[in-house]
């Protein structure tokens, strides 16, 4: 049984996900959060296997939230589920420690399969091509390349820190900064 926590700020999508996932054998939805404040208490209480995380979660963005979720012990698997998920988001998702990335336009079958894959310990981010790396290289400092390479190679953060000879927190901070630079723009909420 795969225990799933839904994080999405739109009620229609939460309801839809809940209905579809509950109907699928082998899945159980343990909770749904629409705000960051609700998320962590719910996370502690329910201990899900997979967090289905929206990217667009004002005022925070989903990837920064993803990093916070992955710091939980033990960390749940995180599948970033976004209307903006495309090739451009793969590298930021990797830096954020996400295990999977899926566009909201995907059908239910694809969603189920990706959840199973991610829950089974596999990574489902999609290939990060030369084009994305080149685009990212323009935005981050040149010496970020080894960190990106090690992350693409599934190296955990403590090990990256050991290789670079810096404390793990320094690598974490570095990743936060890189994520800020690589933000995927979404429509801004209008000022009321």
């Amino acid at each position: 049984m795969i225990r799933i926590l839904i994080v999405d700020d739109h009620p229609a999508l939460r309801a839809g996900l809940n209905a579809v996932l509950e109907a699928e054998p082998g899945f159980v939805v343990v909770g749904a959060a629409d705000k960051v404040e609700q998320l962590f208490p719910l996370l502690h209480r329910t201990r899900p296997d997979v967090v289905l995380l929206d990217y667009h979660l004002p005022p925070d963005d989903g990837l920064r939230l993803c990093r916070r979720i992955k710091r939980q012990i033990p960390p749940p698997r995180v599948l970033v589920y976004s209307a903006y998920a495309d090739a451009r988001m793969r590298l930021p998702a990797l830096l954020a420690g996400a295990d999977g990335l899926l566009n909201k336009g995907a059908g239910a079958r694809e969603l189920f399969e990706t959840i199973r894959l991610v829950a089974g310990g596999r990574r489902a981010l999609g290939p990060i091509g030369r084009e994305q790396l080149a685009a990212a290289a323009e935005l981050v400092d040149g010496d970020a390349a080894p960190i990106i390479a090690m992350l693409m190679d599934d190296t955990p953060v403590p090990e990256i820190a050991k290789v670079l000879g810096v404390p793990a927190v320094a690598v974490e901070r570095r990743l936060d900064r890189m994520l800020d630079r690589l933000r995927v723009e979404t429509p801004a909420e209008p000022i009321a």
């Binding site: 109907a23 209307a83 909201k104 336009g105 059908g107 079958r109 429509p187």
Partner: protein, 401 residues
């Protein structure tokens, strides 16, 4: 061979002052209605001319009053006709100087500083005072006053004047009036200019806020609901009508993405021709087509320039992407017929049985929003396409220096 969009679009409508008939009159009236300073100039000059003629008729000024009256009439009517016919003259320093010199020459010929032509000379200050920035306008007024003083001395100021309070008062008033006229007109023009800039800014901000709001609603609500519907439906399997419904929903999402992309891209600069040059340079960098932009348009209201820009940008994209054009000529012109914008390419032309796509529909809806005429011309034989957008009422942010 590139179709000559310019000749096609403007040949019939080129303004011609000399042409007889009601069209000339309507052109003049429309110009006057659009440019308040020009109207002030025309009215003041007509009035000053009438006063000068009246004074010449009633009093003996020189021995050649009949000739002077004829010259005044010719000068007054001639200068008014010239600035209405060639609006460029209204902002031409050489013309201002000539006008002032001619008017002061009348004063000189009248051989008296209290001249029937004094008011006529004052009217020569209206256009420079309302066109130049405040400081320079004052400078112009000072120069004028100095020139008038010189003329007064040349005609022979009776220096015993200085003993008579009434005469001294009259002379100093004659010297002060040009300065006061210039200062107050320049101040008013300056304020109007600022007001207009502020209004344009407010309009732009409102437009941007509205775009943000629509973008947000589209993203935050409509798109999420369509995604939810798609998800639920896709859990029911994917055969027959369900597959069809899923396709429709996917198209709906693609349409929304497109609109969101449009809404997110920034508003073009108020200078339409410049914005199009920037776009053309972008296209030239990425594609193989050579894009030229000719012509100029004055600062248009943001609403007009945004829609006109998007129509032209879409036509440009179509020419480069779909028509495989090698050369594209964009022309912008603002005249009496309003704003006319044309995009002519040498590509393969429109397919004969073309279904209007998303892009073309949005071009038409933008044209409707502007109350404009949008014409696609292509003979389907692979000799290019001309897209012409004619906006008859394109509000201009006029009178800007």
């Amino acid at each position: 061979m590139l179709p000559d969009a310019r000749a096609d679009a403007y040949g019939e409508h080129s303004p011609c002052f000399a042409r007889a008939g009601p069209s000339t009159m309507s052109i003049v009236l429309e110009r006057l209605a659009r440019h308040r300073w020009l109207t002030l100039f025309v009215a003041a000059r007509l009035a000053a001319m009438a006063i000068a003629l009246l004074l010449l008729a009633v009093h003996l000024v020189t021995k050649h009053d009949a000739l002077l009256a004829l010259l005044t009439l010719g000068y007054g009517v001639g200068t008014i006709a010239a600035v209405v016919r060639w609006p460029r003259l209204q902002r031409e320093p050489a013309w201002w100087a000539l006008d002032c010199a001619a008017a002061l020459a009348f004063v000189l010929v009248g051989d008296e500083w209290r001249s029937p032509f004094y008011l006529l000379a004052l009217t020569a200050l209206i256009l420079p005072a309302t066109t130049l920035p405040f400081g320079r306008a004052l400078g112009f007024g000072l120069l004028f006053t100095a020139a008038y003083f010189a003329v007064a001395v040349a005609t022979g100021v009776d220096w015993s004047t200085l003993d008579s309070t009434a005469r001294l008062e009259s002379f100093s008033t004659h010297l002060m009036v040009p300065l006061l006229v210039t200062a107050s007109l320049a101040y008013a023009a300056d304020l109007l200019g600022r007001l207009r800039a502020e209004r344009a800014r407010a309009e732009r901000l409102a437009l941007e806020a509205e775009r943000r709001r629509i973008g947000w609603e589209l993203h935050d609500s409509a798109k999420q609901r369509v995604h939810a519907a798609h998800l639920i439906l896709s859990a029911m399997g994917a055969n027959g009508p369900v597959r069809h419904a899923l396709d429709e929903l996917e198209t709906a999402v693609a349409d929304m993405e497109r609109s969101l992309h449009d809404l997110r891209s920034p508003l073009p600069a108020a200078d339409l021709a410049h914005a199009l040059r920037v776009r053309a340079a972008e296209l030239a960098r990425t594609g193989s087509a050579e894009v030229t932009v000719t012509g100029q348009a004055p600062q248009l209201a943001p609403f007009v320039s945004v829609h006109a820009y998007r129509v032209a940008a879409e036509a440009l994209t179509n020419a480069v992407r779909h028509a495989a054009a090698r050369r594209v000529a964009v022309h912008v012109e603002h005249g009496d017929a309003g704003l006319v914008l044309s995009v002519a390419d040498d590509g393969r032309g429109l397919p004969r049985d073309m279904e209007p796509g998303n892009g073309m529909r949005s071009m038409h809806s933008r044209a409707r929003a502007l109350d404009a005429e949008l014409v696609f011309r292509s003979d389907h034989s692979g000799r290019g396409t001309v897209v012409t957008l004619a906006v008859p009422h394109a509000p201009v942010q006029e009178d800007q220096p």
